[in-house]
């Protein structure tokens, strides 16, 4: 793999505050190392901007290993960029070519208001989880590992849904700005486990209602969410959410 430096033209959304008017600003980087991660390139750009006395670009990040769900960037019109099953922090510049122009925009949704530049407020997701995405039983000390037997298949399905990191890519990529994949995964992960059983009806109803309350759009089954999800969560989660919701109506 080449270590040759690349020239990258960036068009980055800059917005001073929640109510300011934003715009795409052009930056050209002529010394991008292909082994840099996308965020490292932003660090490098910010260092240069600061040296020039300009305000650095705000962007969210934390673990930088694809598990915290903090980073959120629309890269060339795709949530987290072009690489399958990859969060923006794990995307590397070798995925691009010398001379490329890259659009970088924040998640766009009414329910995710922009705070500054590329940073959006995703607390709407927290409120969906607060509505019912938990098990409110005080279990005391940890029980013996095999005291409650759960079939491997069920445990695996629940685990697949539980890998959701709440990054919001599903909403960002959805033409309708629907939060159905996120909410579906949070409901479905409990629907396969005995721990989720006692509150399953209240959970499904409360979380689906909260999703609408937050101003996310309806799901039109575009399945774009599954395509961009860094954890590759299937839209089966959405089908499960719908089943759980309908079942919750009958006692």
């Amino acid at each position: 793999m080449s270590d040759q430096q690349m020239t990258i033209h960036l068009k980055v959304w800059r917005q001073k505050g929640p109510n300011s008017k934003g715009e795409l600003v052009d930056y050209t980087m002529d010394d991008v190392n292909p082994h840099m991660s996308f965020l490292e390139m932003f660090d490098w750009l910010n260092e240069k901007l600061m040296k020039q006395g300009e305000e650095p670009i705000e962007f969210d990040h934390d673990c930088r290993e694809g598990i915290c769900g903090s980073c959120n960037m629309m890269i060339n019109g795709q949530a987290h960029g072009p690489q399958k099953a990859t969060a923006a922090c794990q995307l590397h510049m070798r995925q691009f070519s010398d001379g490329d122009t890259i659009y970088v925009e924040p998640w766009r949704a009414k329910a995710f208001p922009i705070i500054k530049d590329l940073v959006v407020d995703r607390s709407a997701f927290d409120r969906i989880v607060e509505a019912g995405g938990y098990v409110s039983v005080n279990t005391g000390g940890a029980v013996d590992a095999n005291a409650q037997l759960i079939p491997k298949k069920e445990a695996d399905i629940a685990f697949d849904y539980a890998t959701c990191i709440g990054c919001g890519a599903c909403v960002a990529a959805c033409p309708n700005s629907s939060a159905s994949l996120f909410t579906g995964a949070k409901i479905a992960q409990f629907a396969h486990l005995p721990q989720g059983e006692p509150e399953r009806k209240e959970r499904a109803r409360a979380m689906v209602d909260q999703m609408k309350e937050e101003g996310f759009g309806d799901c039109s089954n575009f399945a774009e969410c599954e395509a961009v999800c860094p954890k590759e969560i299937s839209i089966t989660a959405i089908a499960e959410m719908r089943r759980e919701y309908v079942k919750s109506l009958f006692d």
Partner: protein
């Protein structure tokens, strides 16, 4: 009861109703297509079919009423979902691209509102051309009945009607290509394994229905039948 009322207004309920009414309309379309195909059996076949249908009386009116209710709910929800989508993202992206498979964001999926509205306009004209038309009568086996065969033959001599009909049926096929698959997903009937199967079936069904409907006007226009 308030639980059910809330459910109908929830985002799950809205898609559920859109799906159920959509599948109901697909069933109607299939029956309609089979009826159309009886034209190929000659004047006696299609006129007798039409006459038998009208002989159902009350049952036919019940079906028409059901169809109207399904249609209105489907239209209302389709438009409402589209409006909601615009509200949910007031500022769009400068650059937006689909990631591709497993995304189902096809041309037909993105244009549901457009194909839907065109189909609605078509239905109004279509009812005016056929259902509300003052038919000539013909006598078959001693029974006087509407001459549907003559009307079809007359209408599809006209270029404008034939072309617009054919184009609308292409749009119908597109609408069903996403709609049929989407309905099953909205009803929560989809699993990871059945998803690609149903998606393919929806494509084939959309194609068959479009080709089926296009066959009749094209055959009449070019004098093949």
């Amino acid at each position: 009861m308030s639980k059910f009322k809330a459910a109908l207004q929830s985002q799950v309920g809205r898609k559920l109703i859109t799906g159920i009414t959509g599948l109901g309309l697909v069933l109607f379309i299939i029956v309609h297509l089979l009826g159309n195909l009886s034209y190929f059996g000659g004047p006696e076949a299609i006129n007798t079919y039409s006459h038998t249908l009208h002989e159902l009386g009350g049952l036919l009116w019940a079906a028409r009423l059901g169809l109207l209710v399904f249609f209105l709910f489907h239209i209302y929800l389709g438009i409402s979902i589209w409006l909601e989508k615009r509200r949910a993202r007031p500022v769009g992206y400068e650059s937006y691209n689909s990631r591709g498979v497993p995304s189902r964001q096809s041309w037909s999926a993105r244009s549901m509102i457009i194909t839907g509205v065109i189909l609605l306009v078509f239905v109004v004209f279509h009812l005016n051309t056929f259902a509300f038309h003052d038919f000539q009568t013909t006598v078959i086996n001693g029974v006087e009945m509407h001459d549907v065969h003559a009307r079809l033959t007359e209408v599809f001599q006209h270029e404008v009607y034939t072309i617009s009909y054919v184009l609308t049926m292409v749009l119908l096929g597109m609408h069903l290509r996403h709609g049929v698959w989407s309905s099953f997903q909205s009803l929560g009937w989809m699993s990871r394994n059945s998803n690609p199967v149903v998606y393919s079936i929806a494509y084939i069904l959309g194609l068959i229905i479009a080709v089926g409907f296009i066959g009749l006007p094209v055959s009449i226009y070019f004098g093949l039948v």
